[in-house]
Amino acid sequence: MDTTVLTVSEYIDLTNQTLDYAYPMVVLEGEVSQFKVSRDKYVFFDLKDEGASVGCFMMVFSLRVALEDGMKIRITAKPKLTQWGKFSLTVHNLELVGDGALQRAFELMKAKLTKEGLFSDERKRPLPSLPRRIGVISSTGAAGYKDFITLAGKRWGDMHIDVADVRVQGERSPQQVAAAFDYFNQAEQPYDALVLIRGGGSLDDLQAFNDELVVRAVAGSRYPVIVGVGHEQDVTLADLAADVRASTPSNAAEILTPNRYDFSRDIDLRLRSAVSTLKGSLRYLRESIDAQLGSMRDLTIDTVIRRREDLAGVMARIDLANPAQLISRGYAVASSSAGVVVRSVSDVRTGEKVMIQLSDGTLVTEVVDE
């Protein structure tokens, strides 16, 4: 047999070619051990079972779940022999296996993102009261989506809704959801809110909503986000990152939209209230006019009575000064024969004639003595 002599490098290349041919990708399940991140870039861990272990490698940005020694995972990886003769699996996809692992990863990720402040109340934005332009991120085949569209349509008719049809579970879901958020963030025409919804499912089904990519997309969304995942268990990390959390897709529709019938009734009530206020104003005005007229009338009568009394007083005084009155009371007017009124004794001489006017005639008298 012809034995080719290879250099070490050539052997390593040949082995890698063979591996590439035989196992372009393998899927393995095992337990994480010796997990470490080097220089914030390179992730190394061993994947092991009871009898064996194999080294794994990946870049940190590909790792979107929190890993810890002891967790059970499933990887899709490409085997290779490194230049230094080390056998390693380059991980292309990683999934948590079993509720225990899922729960643990959830807790770790939650702690990490809470520390970053992603879930803090200050970050939460309010929803618009009258939504006009909405983006929905969901799977159009899913029951949750239909429930949302139906209820939103019943409650409100003033919206334009753009729907990004994506997978809401499975391996490809996180990238698709993140891509949908990207699309809406960059759209020319702004949106009033985005709605991320899906129906209920197992902890495993909901994994995409705990994926770091999705959680960061929700937290970093340009527009307020409502997350509505229908489930009875605890919240997902996407729920925590949302501006508003709905308990189900239907609840998301209720939160987002006002009720058109309530609105219509409100308009009716406001109109009636305006009419009754107007009637009230008119009644008040009429009453106040009546009152004013009344007081004007009273004023006039009062004045007349008072004036009359004044007049009577004046007339009485005039009467008192009336010469005819005085004469009738015994006062007389004395005048000389020339007709000049005698006011003083020096006005007449003895023997002179003096006329005395009484009420019923005139006396002719003569001065006897002065």
Partner: protein
Amino acid sequence: MSKKTEQLDFAKEYDKLKKLLEWFESEDIDLAAAPKKYKEAQALAKKLQEYLDNAENSISVLDKDFDS
């Protein structure tokens, strides 16, 4: 996907109605102007209520593959 009614600027029109109706509550309203203002409010309210009754959301599924 079709809409029976044109999309109104509902928020703006509703605001207009609210302001009109607030006028009736003010202290010294010009009673001479009241009948005309009321007719205006009534017409606007009717327009809004009709829109509320009949409008339907327009839904458009984006023609885009998000699987990059």
